[in-house]
């Protein structure tokens, strides 16, 4: 199949950026990134600079790949990362617009590559359980209800790709932050520093320049791991509890 691409090119963060048109021959069994590989081989053979994009595991778990495809983060297929999206979902002659994940908190590094270190900063603010190596009691010392462990796991499947931020018209990172808050806060071992964690993570999230949540729910629709905005409600609740119930 022949595809007409409009690809975002931007030399660096200071550059304005623009769309560049290309045509690519693809087959249905290719993944979206393999189609991009074909485009890049084409560009290299013309001695031009290939399109910079991030990718690594190519099996939907590392969270590196980040393209907005025809206006949707990770493209049209739900619950799927860009690398797991296959070209059989497109038709011969289709036009495809490819852009980076957009948000003021994710400055563009080059072309489709953005800087997502703001996510790291949010985790550093409290997205952990403070336990040093060697201090742990026996793994079975605290029984945890199976369903609760499952809920915690569901939140913990977040791959930190940033699709939620890209999907949100406000560029909000509430789904990402709340997924971590829920993952740890639902477990008994994470409850100990839950209040403090929520406060610090939300404050850092605000500082990093993410927008506010207006409960649109686009994030949960576009999340490749289908993480629920129930987690956001939980974080709201916990934040209120930490402000009004805490001593600080």
């Amino acid at each position: 199949m022949k595809l007409n691409l409009k690809v975002w090119r931007q030399k660096n963060n200071k550059d304005e950026g623009r769309y560049e048109a290309h045509t690519v021959e693809a087959t249905g069994d290719m993944s979206f990134l393999e189609m991009m590989d074909v485009l890049n081989e084409q560009l290299i053979s013309e001695k031009k600079e290939p399109v910079a994009f991030e990718h690594d595991c190519r099996e939907g778990i590392c969270g590196s790949c980040n393209m907005v495809i025809n206006g949707k983060p990770h493209g049209p297929q739900q619950g799927t990362t860009t690398c797991q999206l296959h070209m059989r979902h497109f038709n011969d002659g289709d036009s495809i617009a490819i852009e980076p994940f957009r948000s003021a908190a994710f400055p563009v590094i080059k072309d489709l590559v953005v800087d997502r270190s703001a996510f790291d900063h949010i985790i550093q603010a409290g997205g952990y359980i403070s336990v040093n190596t060697g201090q742990a009691p026996d793994g079975n010392a605290i029984p945890i209800e199976k369903d609760l462990a499952g809920q915690s796991f569901d939140a913990a499947t977040c791959i930190g790709c940033g699709a939620c931020v890209a999907a949100c018209p406000n560029g909000s990172a509430m789904l990402f932050t709340s997924a971590k808050v829920a993952h740890l806060g639902l477990l008994p071992q994470g409850k100990v520093e839950h209040t403090k964690r929520v406060k610090n993570m939300v404050d850092t999230m605000d500082k990093e320049g993410f927008g506010m949540c207006s409960n649109i729910g686009a994030c949960e629709v576009e999340c490749p791991k289908e993480i629920s905005i129930e987690n956001i409600a939980m974080m709201n609740r916990s934040y209120l509890a930490s402000v009004f119930g805490g001593r600080e």
Binding site: E41, G127, V131, G139, F153
Partner: protein, 664 residues
């Protein structure tokens, strides 16, 4: 350089007390000295992140480096199945010794007893640590941890978090690391790639990195350097490794005098989604657990296979009598659950006979029809349903067990695995070989340590399922933080290492020159095209089965390819810019040398063991023939462009009896 003597530095004493006694008597570094000692850790996957956070907790000053944009992206994240630990929570007779024995035997008796026993000992601590960190392991209804069983063992000792155990463990380690970053104990360098190791007075004292965003070349110094840089499976181009996985940090260290051990020991995983076209960039693993219920087969006749290859027939069209369930036929005792190396070779043999079932002829069926029937009937009986729709009931059970894997298969291939048998083919998955290390995980270069998949130490010639995660975390959480003291306790009087020394200047200049040289070739072929060709050569001559003849040919072909690379590679973009093509070029350049060493190693090892199968050394039935008399050693190679030099570490087995592995 060649008068290296390999000393494993194993402590004296009985196997079971070795580690405890050693820990109790080794030299320690006092807290006031720890704050003055700096450690560089390259790679922040399971091994690197766990080591970085633990060393930081102890008070060392840590600088951690990753080429990713965040430590959370390391490829440890992709491990599906689980992590082993000798907890014996299931009361099924597991013990530290049994885990030790299974690992030694599974590795076909090519690993060091003392290291493996220590691994088995600390395995239980890992589970405790991870639970405390908030890793949401699977649980039973009573709230206690659940286990499942994995290939090659008779107990249930695998802990798991659905099909995403690696992800959950890595996130746990990443969070621990993040905590130390926010405490200021770890200085984190994201998007920095190590391009050289710096030795000062023969000790590893620093690294040269390239900032992958700006292209800036930097010097970093510390009292010692730890490599936790993963495996080199990407030398095959097509593998289940992530696109960025590479050998460069390790290889640069080899070029500075470290030794590469057993490089030809690569694990080929039998259940991967087959290659679908020439554009293919990577292969996707389907968890080994599928072989618990799936039956592997190919058509009995070539005619049927060819009809399938042409698309005229489908798997379901082949009558039961015309199918060859070759694993069940050849290995009645273990059937579809033979270890990975055996299953992979059998698939290759079937396809070599022309019985492959994909358009390329390189795939076999993994069929769940029987499992669906079996589960469907059982469900109908247990629920007392009259006139049951067996297939529907059975599919529901299979979905509950393997739903996410089936979904992934459908996403990638566009075929419904409930209706048509899955197609699978072996693919490179893990490399048991790696940098040679002693009992302290220290290489032969003083002050240079290697952890996780980057070292060679624990898996011998074949790794058992769910053991990679165990080893990465054992090394990072519970081994290195102690053993690093054996080196650092002698360095407490060494002041902060300066980056102004001539050694650093030379190393930096070498890196800059190397990059300039690559860029100035300005040829016509892309880096990717060289990598693809290298992969084909290594796969063909040093893949699932090897011959002396082939290995010689392969070696020559790689050397020719390397010459061509340095004459005709084209790297677009600038050196001082975000430039993925340049990154790839430096990595492929190193793979081009490593690939040759793999051929040399495989040619030296005149036996078949684990993942290394030499056709000349097989029984009449085509099974592997090990030679314990002559090859019970670790091959540790010193790099030399003309002829790499072999150093042998003889392996002593005092606690297990060497047996032929038989799965018949």
């Amino acid at each position: 350089m060649s008068n290296i003597t390999l000393n494993s530095n194993e402590p004296k004493g009985g196997l079971t007390n070795k580690w405890t006694d050693y820990r109790g008597s080794m030299n320690l570094v006092a807290p006031n000295n720890k704050r003055n000692l700096e450690v560089i850790i390259v790679g922040t996957g399971l091994a690197g992140a766990s080591a970085a956070s633990t060393l930081a907790e102890l008070g060392y000053k840590v600088k951690a480096f990753t080429f990713h944009d965040s430590p959370r992206r390391a490829h440890s994240i992709a491990a599906q199945g689980g992590i082993n630990a000798a907890k014996n929570y299931q009361n099924d007779g597991d013990s530290t010794f049994r885990l030790f024995y299974d690992t030694i035997k599974g590795g076909d008796y090519r690993s060091r007893e003392s290291n493996v026993h220590r691994l088995a000992e600390v395995s239980t601590n890992i589970i405790d640590q991870c639970v405390a960190q908030g890793v949401p392991f699977a649980r039973e209804y009573g709230g206690l941890l659940a286990n499942r069983s994995f290939g090659g063992v008779q107990v249930s000792r695998t802990f798991y978090a659905r099909g995403q155990t690696g992800q959950q463990l890595l996130i746990g380690a990443y969070q621990g690391l993040s905590r130390q970053i926010s405490n200021g104990q770890v200085e984190m360098y994201n998007r920095h790639e190590m391009l050289d190791l710096v030795l000062v007075d023969g000790k590893a004292r620093g690294i040269i990195t390239r900032n992958l965003v700006t292209g800036k070349i930097d010097r970093h110094a510390a009292h010692c350097v730890v490599l936790a840089t993963g495996g080199y499976g990407n030398v095959f181009y097509l593998s289940t490794n992530a696109m960025g996985c590479n050998v460069s940090a390790g290889w640069r260290s080899v070029k500075k005098g470290a030794l590469m051990a057993n490089p030809c020991f690569t694990q080929i995983h039998p259940t991967c989604i087959p290659v679908s076209g020439h554009y293919q960039s990577k292969l996707t693993l389907m968890s080994e657990s599928l072989r618990n219920d799936g039956r592997v087969w190919v058509p009995k006749t070539k005619a049927d296979a060819e009809a399938i290859q042409r698309g005229e027939k489908k798997g379901v069209d082949i009558a039961e009598a015309d199918r060859d369930y070759y694993l069940e036929r050849r290995y009645p005792a273990f059937g579809n659950l033979v270890p990975r190396d055996v299953a992979s070779r059998a698939a290759k043999i079937a396809c070599d006979e022309g019985k492959g079932v994909s358009p390329t002829g390189l795939a076999v069926f993994l069929d769940f029809a029987d499992a669906i029937q079996r589960y469907g009937k059982a469900e109908a009986i247990s629920k007392g349903i009259d006139n049951p729709d067996i297939v529907k009931l059975g599919e529901a059970i299979v979905k509950a067990k393997y739903g996410n894997l089936f979904q992934m298969y459908e996403k990638i291939t566009g075929e419904d695995p409930y209706k048509n048998p899955m197609k699978i083919y072996p693919a490179v998955h893990y490399t048991m070989g790696g940098i040679w290390v002693d009992y302290n995980l220290e290489t032969n270069v003083p002050g240079l340590f290697a952890l996780g998949e980057a070292n060679f130490s624990d898996h011998g010639a074949n790794r058992l399922g769910a053991s990679a995660l165990m080893q990465g975390l054992a090394d990072g959480y519970f081994v290195l933080p102690y053993t690093i003291g054996t080196f650092l306790s002698k360095e407490i009087r060494t002041p902060k290492i300066s980056t102004d020394s001539p050694e650093f200047a030379t190393a930096e200049r070498d890196v800059t020159d190397r990059l300039l040289k690559l860029k100035s070739i300005n040829g016509t072929q892309s880096v990717e095209s060289f990598h693809r060709r290298l992969g084909q050569i290594v796969w063909e001559y040093c893949g699932m089965s090897r011959t002396a003849e082939g290995l010689k040919t392969g070696r020559q072909k790689i050397r020719d390819l390397r010459d061509e690379f340095y004459k005709d590679v084209f790297i677009p973009g600038d050196l001082e810019d975000y430039n993925p093509e340049l990154e790839k070029a430096t990595r492929v350049a190193d793979f081009l040398e490593l690939g040759e060493l793999m051929m040399v190693d495989a040619l030296d090892r005149n036996e078949s063991c684990g993942g290394h199968f030499r056709e000349e050394y097989s029984t009449d039935e085509g099974e592997a023939k090990r030679d314990d008399e002559n090859y019970a050693y670790v091959s540790a190679w010193e790099w030399d462009d003309n002829q790499p030099i072999l150093h042998k570490e003889e392996l002593k087995f005092e606690n297990v009896e060497l047996k032929t592995r038989s799965y018949k």
